[in-house]
Structure formats: C-alpha cells, structure tokens
Amino acid sequence: MSQFSRSQSASDFHEPLRAKVVGFSHVLRHHGFQVGLRETEDAVRVAAHFLCADFAAFRDGLRSLYCLSQEECGTFDPLFEGYWAPPDGASRITPPSTAPRKERREFPGGLDLTTGFGDAADVEQSTRTTSGASTLEVLRTMDFSQVTPVDQVRLERLAARLWRRMYVNLPRRLRGANWKNRLHFRRTMRRNLSQGGDPLYLVFAGRKPRRPRLVVMLDVSGSMELYSFTFLRLLYVLQRRFRRVHSFVFSTALEDVSGVLAARSLGGALAALSRKRIGWNGGTRIGDCLHALVREHGGRVFRQDSVFIILSDGLDTGEPERLADGLKAIGKLARKVIWLNPLLGIAGYEPIARGMSTALPLVDVFAPAHNLESLLDIERYLVK
C-alpha cells in the first residue's frame, strides 16, 4: 500500500516499469489524449500496484487516469490492449518514433486556459518560436472567407478556448469596481447606531450582477455563404458550452437551432441541420424573421438582461420598414441589440445597403465580424 502514499516519489519505483508507462503516455498523447506529467506519475503508481496483481484493475485504473470522456474511454481500450497485451499475432503498439514532445507544465493555480492541449495549444506555442507574425495572430485576424479546411479545425479549437476565456472573464468585468456582495459595514453601523434597540437593518453594497443571456440570430442566406459555415461552427461551440445561449438561423424563414447545436458532435449537429432543410441560400427576409423571433420565441428566450446579437451582412430583400419594426420590437425585449457584420471588415465598406442604413440607428452596437479577433470584441460590448 505504501506505493500510494503521496509523499513518496514515484521515481523510487523501478525504472523499466516507469519507462514503459511513459511510453504509453506518448502513445495516448499521439492519439489526442491530454496527458501531462501528473497523469504519468500517478500511472506509474497504479502500475506498481496493479500491473502484476490484477490486470483488469490495472486497465480500469489507467482508464480513469487518462480519459476525460466516454468517447475517450472507447478509444482507450484498444490502445491499452495493443500496448500492454497485444492479442496473439497482432503487433505491439509502440510509442511514436518522433522525439516525444516536452511534458507540458501545469499552469500554477487558477484556471488552466489551455483547455485544448491539441492544435490550439501548439498554435500558441509556436508564437514564441516563429518570428514576425505568429500563426496565432494570423488565425485570429484571418478573414473567415479565407479559412482553409485545415485552419478551420485549428480555428475552432482556438475559438473554444477564447470563448471560454471570455466567459470566465466576463462575470469579473461585469462586477466592476463598485460591486461587493457583502455587508456595507460602515453604512450598516451608522444606520443601526441611530436605531437604538430597534430591529436590525442590513445595508448591502449592491446586488450581484448576473451574466447576460445571449440570443443569437445567424444569417445563412446566399450572400453570407462564405461566412455562415464558420459562424455556425462558432455557434456550435457556444451552444454546447453555455446554456444561457439561444441560437437561431434565418434566411427567408427563422429556425431555432439551439437543440440541434447542443448535439454531441459537430458532424451530428451539421447533419441534423441540413436535414431540417432551412431555406439555405435563397433570399433574405430579415424583418420577417425578426418578427417571427419576437412572436414565436420572444417570451421564452428573452429576459430583461438578454443581449441580442444578429450576425448578418444586412443585404435584405424585404421591406426596410419591416426590418425597422422588427428591430424596434427586439429592442423592447433585449437589454442591448448588437449587429455584427462581416462586410464591415472589408476596407472601404459603407453600410449603405438598404437594410443596413435603416437598421443603423436602431442598434446599440454595430461592429465587424469577419475574423475571430472581431468576434472576441463582443466581450467589450457585453460589459456595456
């Protein structure tokens, strides 16, 4: 049992076993698992305790150490078998021949922001080694219409991380300087001193601000073709991680996609979306869709703290008055109306398209949304 005492360093155990476990960590990392020093150290302890005594327990123990999800458990079992006990005739899995990547250090305390230790982390790391414009910077500022499929994947991981950072930061920023969720000592004391023996009064410094709910409406009409797919993937990240988000897509009609986007895999979500036969790519009736949102979903999705975001190029084929009315109705339900327009990133673009010029005076924020950088600015708008 002494193997498990936490004071004893795992390096006391004999080296061949250790080397074998480290090799296994490399195999797993190669297959996309997030394995750090801690996992490997603990795995050596588990191996020393169980490897010879109880092979099934050894496997169960390593599985619980290395896996982070049900899906990973599924990937883990064949890898475990192939490495530790290949069936007769099968060749043994060996660690990838390339020099093992350096073990990543745990971030000291606080939130580990590198939620993905895959590509996105590599992207960030490479910023320290490449001179000039880093890959990270390139990805953050690359116009969505220029993104290749390979970048797409990396962009998504980066997006997931940055969104997360935004969501963790946001409550702190909302809280601002003047909010304290505690008794306002001096005021309370003053108030009560004057009350003599009467009921006790408590004076609080303020109420806790809550994170706003988001209602997002994405334009998937033809003119947005180059952007809507990327936005959908970003919406997927948002929707999957945060419950306070309602997502809709629209072109000539409006469709609630929150449920679909909450699916386990992006592929599944996209497949389900295409089954829904939303009027992809044919005309844009922004006004009608805004009205539909208010009429059919308004009471359910909006709270008084909701922030409404519409992602659209504003190239409307409906009546400008209808669009204006719709925006006014939304403005009554939401605390803030934000219009993100990918065209705004294009040098020389002026919002003079019929729809856009009508909309401008009715929105609180009009901002570009052609790259990740610009989307992350949403944080600023949410704070006020």
Binding site: S69, G109, T115, R243
Partner: protein, 294 residues
C-alpha cells in the same frame, strides 16, 4: 475512518450496503482514496452516480457532505457567508465600549462570525476526512466551475477577510454529471474519470433481487429484458435503474406476475416520463413484449 485493503474488500463492502458495483467502477473508487484525486462520475440519469458517493461514505464510516449544484450557485451558498445578524449584535454590544470602528470591524469579520457552507465545511472538518459529493456539477455555471478548479487543486479556500484555509484532512471528492453540457477540460484533468453505463442484464437482475427481494425470478427476468430493450430505442429519457426498481415495486403492489400489453399500459408511467416516449413505446409494444416474454 475505516479502510479497505483491496478491491475485493471494497466490492464486498459495497454489496453489503446494497450497491452492486460493476467491476470497472471499483478501481477508480480505490484510487480515489489512495491517490487523493477527485472522481468524476458521468452517466445517464438513474445509473447510481449519487448512490456511489453515499455508499462510499457509509463504507468508510465518514460524514457525507453534499452540494447539489444548480444554475446561479455562488460563494454565499457554497463556501461561506457572514453571519450578519450576529455581526450586528456584536456591533451593538460594542456600542457602549470605546473600541475603535477599525477594531470592531476586525473582530466581526473573524472566523466565529462565519457561516460555513458545504465546501468550507468539507475543508475545515476536524476529525478525519469526509466524502464531499458535488452532485450534478453540469448544472452549475462556468464561473462556479472555475472556482471548483481552485478548490480541487489544493483543497484551499481563501476568504479575503480571514485568510487562506487549508484542509487538514483533504476530503474524498466525488463529482457527478449527467453531461447536459461539457465540463471544462481543466476541471476534468484534475479528476479521475469514470463513465457509469447502464448495468448488464445480469447485474440489473442482481440489483433487483437485492432491492426488491419478493420478486420472482421469472418476473425479474422479464422486467430487466424489457427495460434493457427500451434503452436501445431512441428515447428522450431512457429508464435508469431507479425506474426499473420503481416499476418492479409497482408490479408487485398490483399483484402482477407477468407482463402483457394491458399491464404495460397501466404501469408505463413508472418507466417513461414524456408523451413522446410513450408514443415510441406504443409503436414498439409488440416486439418489446415478445423479446421480454422469450
């Protein structure tokens, strides 16, 4: 605190307390007590996640401290709150004295004015460790998750007015999640992970025999067959072990000894919760009963 020496002892202990654990759950539980890492249990509703933590506490003979998560959990409901009433009484007591406001403030923001909530209680617990159950953590906000992360890394809690409190006996932490959303990788990486699947038919019969001892072998078999086939359908809320038990008890209470269409119609409310799922059941009635009857 009691200890168990190996997996067999752990298994026997769980059985004695009425929990039939799958073998694959035992090692993570064992490691939880030996490596001092929290254990994250994910799985569908009613597969025994919460029960695992309760039984573990019972087996170890230690207190179970439970934090039920929901949206909007904050520091005041999970860690500590100041006992304002008591603080004010203290202020009044000091009114007549000539203590300076500063010294009063120092006094009333001291440990004795602190109301401990579950997380702080788990850390400050005096005699030996406790089992800390953080139940349905996927229902809490992201913000709270970031918070937990700090607690789970070094079992320390910082209270601005008091300082940092470090656990003398780090608690055994069990987190559960129905996976209604993904937890952050950072949190998951702090934990041992185990996915609790639905039990095998054999295991489920065993659970049934144990919890509902009056049931006949034949009825137990039919009940488990049918529940297991139901889980294979695309249901909104597939029945968990809890539903199996409820259903079996209902069948016995009605004096029924076998399954047929009428019985199923009368008792389906024990198994399924939504009209959409009732519809699916209706469409598959024949084949379900045929499979269970064999």
């Amino acid at each position: 605190m009691k200890r168990f020496s190996d997996l067999e002892a752990l298994d026997a202990g769980f059985r004695r307390l009425g929990y039939m654990a799958e073998r694959s759950l035992l090692t993570p539980l064992f490691l939880l007590t030996r490596l001092g890492r929290p254990l994250l249990l994910e799985g569908h509703a009613g597969v025994g996640k919460t029960e695992t933590a309760k039984v573990l506490a019972q087996l170890l003979g230690v207190e179970l401290i439970r934090l039920q998560c929901h949206e909007g959990l904050d520091v005041n409901s999970t860690i500590y709150e100041w006992n304002y009433q008591k603080q004010l009484l203290a202020i009044k007591l000091h009114e007549k004295s000539d203590a300076s406001p500063e010294s009063i403030e120092r006094h009333i923001f001291g440990p004795e004015f602190l109301l401990e909530r579950p997380l702080l209680r788990a850390v400050t617990h005096k005699d030996g460790p406790v089992v800390l159950l953080i139940d349905e953590v996927d229902r809490a906000d992201e913000e709270f998750e970031a918070f937990l992360l700090e607690l789970l890394s070094d079992f320390q809690i910082t209270i601005p007015e008091v300082g940092t409190i470090t656990a003398t006996h780090p608690p055994f932490v069990v987190l559960t999640s129905n996976r209604t959303r993904e937890l952050s990788d950072a949190l998951k990486r702090r934990c041992l992970y185990h996915w609790i699947d639905y039990p095998s038919a054999e295991r489920e019969r065993e659970i049934l025999r144990h919890k509902v001892p009056q049931i006949t072998e034949d009825l137990a078999r039919q009940v488990v067959e049918l529940v297991q086939s139901l889980r294979g359908l695309q249901l909104e809320k597939p029945p968990g072990v809890a539903e199996t038990l409820d259903w079996a008890i209902a069948l016995l209470a009605l004096g029924l000894t076998g399954l047929d269409e009428e019985v199923l119609q009368a008792t389906k409310g024990c198994l399924l919760k939504s009209t959409e799922d009732f519809r699916v059941l209706q469409s598959q009635l024949g084949s379900l009963l045929a499979a269970a009857g064999d």
